[in-house]
């Protein structure tokens, strides 16, 4: 019975924490421009993150190491430095994008420009990390995040042609605008396969003192939680395709266009729901990414870490998230467009995945860490193929997007 409660709570947490600015923005753009055609990218990304989250939990439960601990120990400091720097950089951009997402929501609600909100948002996030506990942050914010389910409700209410939706789950070649199509596929993959998500999950498993008895719960949480989370992303994509595209809005390059998705379904309450979903989802993600930066550095260098201790007990750890949040607020304060930043950081995430995921896969196949609980051939192959696809597409399309003149 206790396990069942734990599993449900874990699933709820993953569902509420799945959506963030990246998945909203990429799914909305893809739906508006290509209809249901890019659903397959969400599906592939979700499959990959299911495997990775399950591995992260299993690794923590069996070896009692977090991912950064493991990579450093197994490969040594000089190799560890590369995934560390890659993850820090990508997380920094994602954190900035999430702060931008909350700032956009506040601008939409109040009419006061998003730049003005970045620092207050970062401060509020910092305050919660400073005073809050891990359980409070992980569970509290994620349960509020369930408001994002309104996208799924909206998608169902729009009565999509479900055969067309299913057809979109099968990869297909674009009829027009190929460069843009593949770039969007990359951004969607990057948004779904967030390294911070599975790294955070492994830190959480250690903070909650998981052991082998949690392996079943872990599998259920990863599978169910991420599947439902992916369903929300698909919901956003369907709503964007049926609302924006059918009204002739094929290009989403202004965040002001986004609330129209839900306004058209729910009227004024749609506006409220959209603003609330964006604000809560991005704020939750900002907390997690900020915390993950501190975990990454503290675990990599062997300092004390733990969100439940007082800041003065682990000054290094608290200093890292303080500085991370402050730095990440700067680009938004300077007026960098959050939507552009989001799309770009998602594509960059996809490009950086091999650096973070490949060492992790080695750990999951190493008997010294996971013993008999090693990866099977299916999970290895699936993750490698999807990561490779994301990387190749990113390397090809990012320069096209930068130099392509759009």
């Amino acid at each position: 019975m206790k396990k069942l409660v734990e599993i449900s709570l874990g699933v709820v947490t993953s569902v509420g924490g799945f959506l963030e600015v990246g998945s909203v923005a990429t799914a909305a753009q893809a739906g508006a421009t290509f209809g249901f055609q890019l659903i397959w990218a969400v599906v592939l990304g979700t499959i990959c993150i299911i495997f990775l989250v399950e591995m992260a939990g299993r690794f923590a439960a069996v070896s009692h190491h977090t991912i950064s601990d493991g990579i450093r120990e197994r490969f040594g400091f000089n190799v560890f430095l590369w995934p560390l720097l890659a993850a820090l950089l990508v997380n920094f951009m994602v954190l900035s994008a999430e702060i931008g997402g909350v700032a956009i929501a506040l601008e939409l609600a109040t009419g006061i420009g998003f730049q003005w909100w970045a620092l207050p948002v970062a401060f509020l996030a910092w305050l919660l990390l400073w005073k809050g506990t891990f359980g409070f942050i992980e569970k509290g914010v994620s349960i509020l995040g369930l408001v994002t389910l309104c996208f799924v409700v909206g998608a169902v209410m729009l009565k999509p042609d479900w055969t067309a939706v299913a057809a979109g789950a099968v990869p297909s070649l674009p009829a027009h605008n190929a460069a843009n199509y593949w770039f969007m596929a990359v951004s969607i993959l990057g948004a779904s396969i967030s390294p911070y998500l599975f790294m955070f999950y492994s830190s959480g498993a250690i903070e909650d003192q998981w052991d082998k008895s949690y392996l079943g719960a872990n599998r259920a949480i990863a599978g169910l939680g991420m599947t439902f989370g992916g369903a929300i992303s698909i919901g956003v994509l369907i709503v964007a395709a049926l609302v924006l595209a059918t009204h002739g809005i094929n290009q989403v390059n202004d965040y002001h266009q986004l609330p129209l998705m839900l306004i058209s379904v729910f009227g004024f309450w749609g506006f409220v729901l959209f603003v609330a979903s964006l604000a809560i989802a991005c704020f939750g993600a900002a907390l997690e990414v900020g915390l993950q930066q501190a975990y990454l550095v503290a675990q990599g260098f062997g300092w004390n870490w733990g969100e439940d201790r007082k800041p003065c007990d682990n000054p290094g750890f608290s200093a890292v998230y303080t500085v991370s949040l402050l730095l990440a607020a700067i680009p938004i304060t300077l007026g960098l467009d959050p939507l552009r930043l989001t799309i770009f950081s998602m594509a960059l995430t996809a490009a950086s995945l091999p650096l973070t995921v490949v060492p992790f896969l080695f750990l999951l196949n190493d008997e010294r860490y996971v013993g008999e609980h090693r990866n099977g051939i299916i999970s290895n192959t699936a993750v490698i193929l999807i990561i490779a696809l994301g990387f190749v597409l990113a390397v090809v399309t990012i320069p096209l997007q930068i130099f392509g003149g759009t």
Binding site: R72, F77, W130, W303, N314, G316, A319
Partner: protein, 119 residues
């Protein structure tokens, strides 16, 4: 035991289970005709920088000496005979408060973190 594989980069804790750092370096005694013997572990930014190369190591040592004074110009060492247990972490029979390993964290606490309300 393979030294580099099984010791290097493992988590180090003191007798109170406080996480002090990682095994950033090993100090071994070379004995002719016999396998080398570990005499101490090293930890800290200087050792880490030395692993990246000779020059980063020198720069880091100069930087640390400039910031923290002469006594921080050398890496921190813990004698191997103090080792108590090797598991997920390596436990040493020391108290980190009696060493200068956490000097920078103490400085951070006293001058920055501790001054923010609610710490």
């Amino acid at each position: 035991m393979k030294l580099l594989r099984d010791l290097l980069d493992k988590q180090v804790v003191d007798r109170e289970q406080v996480k002090i750092g990682k095994v950033d370096g090993l100090v071994a005694e070379l004995r002719p005709g016999k396998p080398p013997r570990i005499v101490a572990i090293e930890l800290g930014s200087i050792t880490l920088a030395r692993r990246l190369g000779e020059r980063p190591g020198r720069w880091m040592a100069q930087l640390v000496a400039k910031l923290g004074g002469r006594r921080h110009g050398e890496p921190h060492r813990i004698a191997w005979q103090k080792v108590r247990d090797i598991g997920v972490d390596i436990e040493f029979d020391i108290d980190v408060r009696e060493t200068s390993i956490f000097a920078w964290q103490d400085w951070l606490r006293d001058h920055v973190i501790g001054r923010i309300p609610g710490a």
